[in-house]
Symmetry: C2
Subunit: 335 residues, 2 copies
């Protein structure tokens, strides 16, 4: 098993990426290929005094910045993101993990790698912590004009991922909408509701925004536009809440003492809510394994993302996706 | 000034509604008309031992439940929501406040009341607490297939409300999107971007979900579908965070003590974040004043919503909306 890691991607690269790679090698015994500027990566590796036999470097002279347009990958063919995709394409690695510019990773993947047989559109899945375990939401930004058929395929891919990576025996599927009735929402959603209902999936109907964090659904399907907005709002609200809290708690000595006492609990909470702990967001539906980590990933989150990539390879998730997409297509034709 | 209050609407009605009405009368000196089942409302009023001269009751025999379909208002003509709208229509009250079924209130308002001259679609505005004061988001669910022109009108109405009720001298407008560049998002959003840019509004461009709570924008414009999902996700995430916190804090004696010490700060935080404190969500663009309170409103939130309704009347917000919609139309024709 050999997994490539974008050594230059993320807010804390290359320190965090190299550290994460080293931790992953120690924990899982995978071979990791760091993609990026050799001198920078080698310096980091040397600092960690790590024997290099399980880590090698694939040189890439360019970097796509976190704030750059995704389309920059057309001009930066020698960026760590493009080189990583090339490694997958040539079969030199089993998977690629990047905590870099999400849009650029998705664009590079869709430009360089084919979709899996039968898959119309790739989808980015993320894992949200809920009161009852983890919920998978797909798509959070790969496609912004999804059709009902695409939403059905997202559901299938989300179910396969939940079964094989999250080990849920029979994941339920819900459709993100503004009301529970089948007649709610846009015409896209009303049609998607029918398509999902007629499928062989365990479709439980529409789910409202208020129920996302209830853990009622294992897989929540939505268009990439709405999914992306929801994802970013959640991140922002979580950060704002923490900032509000800190501001309030600093106001008096008593609350400062209180905050100190609460710290262990709140740290454990932050860990539970921090979705980077879940190991990154897989791009599902492409012929290659690509995991997108959060830009703010620390070494542990990067190690976890490499761990998920390994599971993805080992449990042949893509083979299962191809098989399930094929069988749902057969079902639909029967109807 | 006479304001009607849906006595039967909300999770804690009629106790909370009657109590809120009494508090509003005491604080603002308005005349309040409670709409609902007379016996129930009278019993509550009697319990409060309040002299009735400033509160009267408009009888309505039916109630639309919080979980019922909005379309029930077609069958329940004598519901508190429909009777309240009728009171506005007949000019017997200056405004109507309801903490009942939001969908039913919007449906009843659009069926019974005309749009303001020049307004194509009404929009529900909500106020979100941010790190820098309050941000108004419109529309959060009145219309799910908005056109660029509707989004422009939402912006105009949001600006008028921010100026006259929130007392912001020159409110900025942003468009909710998945990226800052003008080329981002759906074709609706790309078109709306241009329309807003060419208008006389202080348009600052696209805003991403992650920046909603930064307070960067005074008015955020979006389609009712996305706005509704975002609103409900925010509510849900805030509740989930609190539940996570309580679960964690109960785990040890130390953290329980810490939690006690932090309580004053967290209560003040909850107040700041609780948008019911902001006084309810106005339905903008209809010929009549209609404020929708949160279903979980306690008496204080209801009193605040009645207070906002009073300001709405006093500052002639609807006259300003008509005037601004007219002048932006003239601008657009010039272009």
């Amino acid at each position: 098993m050999r997994i490539a890691l974008d050594g230059m991607g993320g807010d804390f690269a290359p320190q965090a990426t190299v550290q994460g790679a080293v931790e992953a090698v120690r924990e899982y015994g995978y071979h990791v290929t760091l993609v990026g500027q050799p001198k920078l990566l080698e310096t980091q590796l040397a600092d960690l005094r790590f024997r290099k036999s399980l880590i090698d470097i694939a040189p890439a002279t360019e970097t796509v910045g976190m704030g750059e347009s995704a389309l920059m990958i057309r001009h930066k063919k020698d960026s760590s993101i493009c080189v990583g995709m090339e490694l997958i394409k040539q079969g030199r690695v089993n998977a690629f993990v990047s905590c870099g510019n999400t849009g650029a990773v998705v664009a590079a993947a869709t430009l360089n790698l084919k979709p899996l047989p039968g898959v119309k559109r790739p989808g980015i899945a993320i894992l949200l912590p809920t009161l009852k375990g983890v919920t998978l939401v797909i798509d959070v930004g790969a496609t912004i004009d999804a059709k009902p058929e695409h939403l059905l395929q997202y559901a299938v891919m989300g179910v396969v991922y939940s079964k094989h990576i999250l080990k849920k025996p029979r994941p339920t599927v819900s459709l993100l909408n503004i009301g529970e009735e089948a007649t709610k929402g846009t015409s896209l959603l009303r049609e998607a509701y029918q398509v999902l209902k007629e499928s062989s999936l365990d479709f439980t109907g529409n789910i409202e925004g208020r129920d996302i964090f209830s853990g009622r659904a294992d897989v929540i399907v939505c268009d990439g536009f709405i999914g992306n907005v929801v994802l970013k709002v959640c991140e922002s609200l979580a950060e704002t809440t923490v900032e509000f809290c800190m501001r309030e708690l600093k106001r008096s000595l008593l609350t400062r003492v209180g905050a100190l006492l609460c710290r262990p609990a709140l740290t454990s909470l932050a860990r539970e809510v921090d979705y980077s702990e879940c190991g990154g967001a897989p791009l599902l539906g492409i012929d290659g394994i690509c995991i997108i980590g959060h830009g703010a990933s620390k070494p542990k989150a990067i190690k976890n993302a490499l761990g998920v990539a390994g599971h993805f390879v080992r449990y042949k998730v893509n083979d299962h996706i191809v098989h399930e997409i094929e069988s749902i297509k057969a079902d639909t034709h029967e109807v």
